[in-house]
């Protein structure tokens, strides 16, 4: 690229009606003023012009920060001294210094968007021609290397393919937040490695996230780094648990999360990738590798990344985030240490009391039917089960209270050895009435498709033994 130091420079494209309208002007400028015409789309446009630059690669347009075509620039001593956009006859006549320039044309015609402003192009051009500003180590692949295979080979994948983190994709991901790429968000366990916004964006790219998920992902990371979330222990545990994310608030609608049919399953990009981004960050930045410090006996598919939105369509039901202190109208994430998934069936309950007793039976199986005050759980209430509570006028507080009461059993049935089962609670509890969960140990969220009297139980981590140290964490999403 060799920009003339002095003279006129015009940026145009054939696809722009204003550019084609002023084609005779461009020919005049070329013929009589040796103007350089830079064409963004069709190298043969404008016709009959000798000083024409093929800028289909858009480098000239990028370096001159062109946003609209046509753009007329006057250069003097290598510096820009004049610029006008679109067709403004008087302005063009003034800058060129010719009173009758384009006199047969209309006085004003707006221009069109430069090709540099088309979706996704800006980041590509910045990555190619500018300073990306990225600081992470660059890894150059061989010409014939497959980037996805290269990510596998370097151990960056959770087993599924990752999206190769190119500058263009990372810059696009960073456009999803106003926070500076070099800001350190915190220390990622287990290695307690400093993690920047840029590293989060790189891993979010790899997880398959879109830029508009970034505020959610940042809130997820923030919550995961809360000491009471004990991300380090959650990763190391031999138990099944991993981080589970529930998202509440308007952002769930704006990024198109699924809280309906198959909400806990596959098929929705945000649901599938947000927690995956966290898990990739723990893997890649924190160094938490399965078989290394991750000692899960069996693990589970949720450890790839389980995330869903709560159904907030019924104002009668207090959303989980609000029940946990987030103001109405705000968005938030709740991180829970748990696993997927224990299905719960009850197709015969018609009263809230029947359903509550029935749910309590299902919930008692969490971890082990004889282990109490030991774990925690999320109950995901389906619409058909919720309807029973709704019709009876039971709100969240009532459902929580009634379930807590229903989740009690005589200690004599639960102690070690009772029922011929060795597992159980300590013999000193034999004369107590024992609760399955401690207060606050059961979270309830609404989700699911309209049909099916099936709810879901996501069992919690047994590290809830130290319940004051390991709790679910709710964090507001700041956009």
């Amino acid at each position: 690229m060799n920009t003339p130091a002095d003279g006129l420079l015009v940026f145009a494209k054939r696809d722009c009606p204003t550019c084609t309208l002023i084609e005779p002007v461009l020919q005049t400028l070329d013929r009589e003023y040796q103007a350089t015409v830079v064409t963004q789309d069709d190298p043969s446009f404008p016709a009959n012009v000798t000083h024409r630059v093929d800028d289909t690669g858009l480098e000239w347009s990028y370096r001159q920060a062109i946003e609209v075509v046509p753009t007329l620039i006057r250069l003097q001593g290598g510096r820009e001294v004049e610029r006008t956009i679109g067709w403004d006859r008087a302005e063009w006549q003034r800058i060129v210094g010719r009173a009758d320039l384009g006199s047969a044309l209309p006085a004003l015609r707006p221009g069109c968007g430069s090709k540099t402003t088309e979706p996704g192009v800006a980041e590509r051009l910045r990555a190619r021609f500018g300073d990306s500003g990225l600081r992470a180590r660059e890894i150059e692949l061989g010409e014939y290397d497959d980037p996805i295979e290269a990510c596998y080979a370097r151990g960056w994948s959770d087993g599924l393919p990752v999206v190769p983190p190119t500058d263009e994709r990372i810059l696009r991901m960073l456009s999803g937040t106003r926070r500076r790429p070099d800001e350190v968000v915190g220390l990622i366990p287990p290695n307690l490695a400093p993690c920047t916004i840029e590293k989060i964006a790189i891993n979010a790219v790899m997880a398959g996230c879109k830029p508009e998920y970034m505020p959610v992902i940042l809130a997820v990371i923030e919550a995961a780094l809360e000491p009471t979330f004990t991300m380090h222990g959650l990763l190391c545990t031999t138990y099944f648990s991993g981080p589970i994310v529930i998202v509440n608030g308007p952002i769930t609608r704006s990024i198109g999360m699924n809280s309906g049919v198959n909400a806990l399953g596959q098929g929705n990009r945000a649901n599938s990738t947000i927690t995956r981004a966290l898990n990739l960050i723990v893997r890649n930045v924190g160094g938490g590798l399965p078989g290394g410090i991750d000692r899960a006996t069996l693990g589970g598919p949720h450890k790839v990344g389980l995330c869903f939105a709560e159904d907030e369509s019924d104002p009668f039901w207090t959303p989980l985030a609000q029940a946990r202190g987030i103001a109405p109208g705000k968005s938030a994430v709740t991180l829970f240490q748990g696993e997927a998934l224990q299905g719960f069936v009850d197709q015969r309950a018609r009263t809230p009391e029947e359903l509550t007793r029935s749910l309590a039976m299902g919930l008692f199986a969490v971890n082990h039917p004889k282990l109490c005050e030991f774990g925690s759980a999320i109950l995901v209430l389906s619409p058909e089960h919720y309807r029973i509570y709704r019709q009876a006028g039971w709100d969240r507080a009532r459902v929580e209270r009634e379930l807590f009461e229903a989740l009690k059993r005589p200690g004599k049935d639960l102690v070690i050895g009772a029922g011929g089962v060795a597992e159980g609670i300590g013999p000193e509890r034999a004369n107590d009435i024992v609760s399955k969960f401690w207060p606050g140990g059961l979270l309830i969220a609404r989700a699911g498709g309209e049909a099916g009297m099936f709810s879901a139980i996501l069992a919690g981590w047994i590290a809830g033994r130290a319940r004051e140290q390991t709790v679910a964490v709710t964090t507001e999403i700041r956009e």
Binding site: A136, E138, I139, T237, N284, V285, G287, R465
Partner: protein, 94 residues
Amino acid sequence: MHPSQRLRDPTAETGSTRRSRLAPPPTLTGQPVALLDIGKSRGNEFIDRIEQRFTERGITTRRYKKPSNSRVAPTELLQRIAVESKVVVIALSD
């Protein structure tokens, strides 16, 4: 062939330093052995038994405990163990 062949490193870009382990002491006599309970269930029972065995052999022990098994040990605890003992037995699992 793929048009984009440059990727950015998603890791913390920290290289691990390989350090050789301290040589085991020729004898435990005369130096205290640290016994660290990381907070897992029944870790204390394991430590009790180990401590009993050391005591029977005339070896002194010092006991330490992590506040929780679900978090890394506090730096000051690690420093205290390193200052006070050269040998540590850790009850690692349930």
